[in-house]
């Protein structure tokens, strides 16, 4: 029994139909949610109040549903995975290992799998233990074009020469490194007076940041553009379309027109260190000139603790346009025998 502080935090937000994460620096032992919109409006069947405290299961909690005629509240347990989740963004645990059945050689590559229920467009996945397309093993990718129960695409990956014809596995990676800016893997580099560099996972670099390129020689062909290896560059634009019309890019002040073409390793390549962008500082003059934040390259700890409210009519996060109040606090003592 060492916690002396027992205080509360309160606030309000308007739901947008997606889950809401409330950051609570002082920690949380309990939270009470009041959905003002549901409480005051006519009708019944939706959750008006919700409650959770330590000891209750993750994803659950208590729901008070508005009933017809009198509007009295009926108490029940929130459905599984529809309630509250404690969040600590400094804890990095990948999702469960899921089977895939193939990776196409299309542009972009498409991962075939029936296990898509835990995925959404924009999620990060890590691919491993494939029988083919071995060059993708251990790398992280942002996904899109999710077809439930069938497949998802790797939009920022270069086209691969040989498909993975069989089994493999992947995990959802529900986090980013909490220190900003972080390094990223390179998938494509254009040959241009200002090179456009495509990255495997959505980046958050800003104009004016200075990065260094690591482009190791793997085989005679890959990564090809070894002239870029070790060079430092200033980002002069972000999110310009690459040759495939994808926008997860940085444009840098390096003329690559005379460089060897960039080529992602093949499945037959020996084990290799991936080509990467490493953040290293800020070009203040460029940032000022382009109207960017001159502290954009500063190391920043984005970690937080708090609680996540699942969205839905019978969940604490509510539906779009619901006005929701919360009251959260810590207790002097927590004793869950």
């Amino acid at each position: 029994m060492s916690v002396v502080f027992s205080g509360t935090n309160q606030g309000r937000f308007t739901a947008d139909g997606t889950f809401v994460t409330i950051q609570l620096r002082s920690g949380i032992d309990w939270v009470l949610i009041k959905n003002e919109t549901v409480s005051y409006a006519a009708g019944a069947g939706a959750g008006a109040e919700f409650y959770w405290q330590r000891g209750m299961a993750q994803g659950r909690g208590t729901i008070y549903t508005k009933t017809a005629v009198t509007g009295a509240l009926a108490v029940a347990q929130i459905a599984a995975n529809a309630g509250f989740y404690l969040v600590d963004s400094s804890v990095n645990l990948p999702g469960a290992s899921l089977a895939l059945t193939g990776i196409t050689a299309g542009n972009p590559p498409v991962v075939n799998t029936a296990n898509t229920s835990s995925l959404s467009n924009g999620d990060i996945v890590r691919i491993f233990s494939t029988v083919g397309a071995l060059q993708l093993g251990g790398l992280d990718f942002t996904i899109d074009t999710l077809t439930p129960g069938v497949s998802f695409a790797l939009p920022f990956m270069a086209q691969i020469a040989n498909a993975n014809p069989g089994a493999g596995t992947f995990r959802r990676i529900p986090y980013n490194p909490y220190f900003y800016p972080s390094s990223r893997y390179i998938t494509k580099v254009s040959q241009a007076t200002q090179a456009i560099v495509s990255l495997s996972v959505i980046h958050s670099y800003t104009v004016g940041q200075v990065v260094r390129f690591i482009v190791p020689p793997i085989t005679a062909a890959a990564y090809g553009m070894t002239e870029l290896n070790g060079l430092q560059a200033t980002i002069v634009a972000i999110r310009q379309a690459d040759a495939d019309g994808k926008f997860n890019t940085i444009t840098v002040d390096v003329d690559t027109t005379g460089f060897t073409a960039f080529a992602f390793p093949l499945t037959t390549a020996p084990g290799f260190t991936p080509a990467q962008v490493v953040p290293m500082g800020e070009n203040t003059a460029t940032a000022l000139n382009l109207g960017a934040n001159i502290l954009g390259g500063a190391t920043l700890n984005d970690a937080f603790i708090g609680i996540q409210l699942t969205a839905g009519a019978n969940s604490p996060g509510g539906v779009a346009n619901d006005v929701i109040y919360y009251l959260a606090g810590t207790s002097f003592d927590v004793d869950n025998e």
Binding site: S2, S129, R171, Y178, R212
Partner: protein, 197 residues
């Protein structure tokens, strides 16, 4: 979180990486090998990174040998067995001078001395075969720094029971710090990623 853990996670997020490929466990990255350690050493040398630790000269003692000047490597305690099996590994027990051994040190391989910790960096399920990847940060002098904001590092705060309640039953202990870890020169530090044998 401690200052060490924050620095660890900053390095894992932003340092350039090198995948070990000289081991023989069939994964990517592979287990640690002499060739990988020498490769990283060569890269740091080429980048003009200064060694962090000085030579320990030979002495006339049985079972000891001189230790080269070295870069500092921070890794996980689970790597201890793999290090023992690397060709040329010198346990700190074999150093000629006990006074030059660091508390958390496990030993050295050529020009790298390894410090191990149970809270060192691991990237879960990040290898090509889905195994945990161990991040070993090999660094030269002044590769990184911890900026102490408001001119203080961690402060240990103890409040005796007289301040807590009328019956003097509870004490509190905690620490606070305002500190930013930062890589000063990315050329002088490398994340040598490896898996276990």
């Amino acid at each position: 979180m401690t200052e060490d853990q924050l620095t660890r996670d900053m390095l894992a997020a932003t340092a350039s990486m090198y995948n070990c490929t000289g081991g023989n466990n069939g994964d990517l990255p592979t287990d640690l090998s002499l060739s990988d350690i020498d490769e990283v050493t060569s890269a740091l040398l080429t980048n003009d990174a200064w060694m962090l630790l000085d030579t320990i000269g030979g002495e006339d003692k049985f079972g000891t040998g001189p230790v080269r000047d070295a870069y500092l490597a921070l890794g996980h305690t689970k790597l201890s067995k793999d290090l023992n099996n690397i060709n040329g590994f010198i346990s700190k027990w074999n150093y000629p001078n006990d006074n030059r051994v660091l508390r958390s040190e496990w030993g050295s391989v050529n020009n790298v001395r390894f410090m191990l910790s149970s809270v060192a960096s691991i990237s879960p399920n990040a290898s090509a075969l889905g195994n945990d990847v161990y991040n070993v940060f090999v660094q030269g002098m002044e590769a990184l720094a911890c900026v102490e904001q408001d001119n203080y590092s961690a402060r240990f705060l103890y409040r005796p029971p007289v301040f807590s309640d009328p019956l003097f039953q509870n004490v509190t202990i905690g620490y606070v710090f305002a500190e930013v870890p930062r890589i000063l020169n990315d050329l002088w530090i490398t994340n040598m990623r490896c898996t276990l044998r």
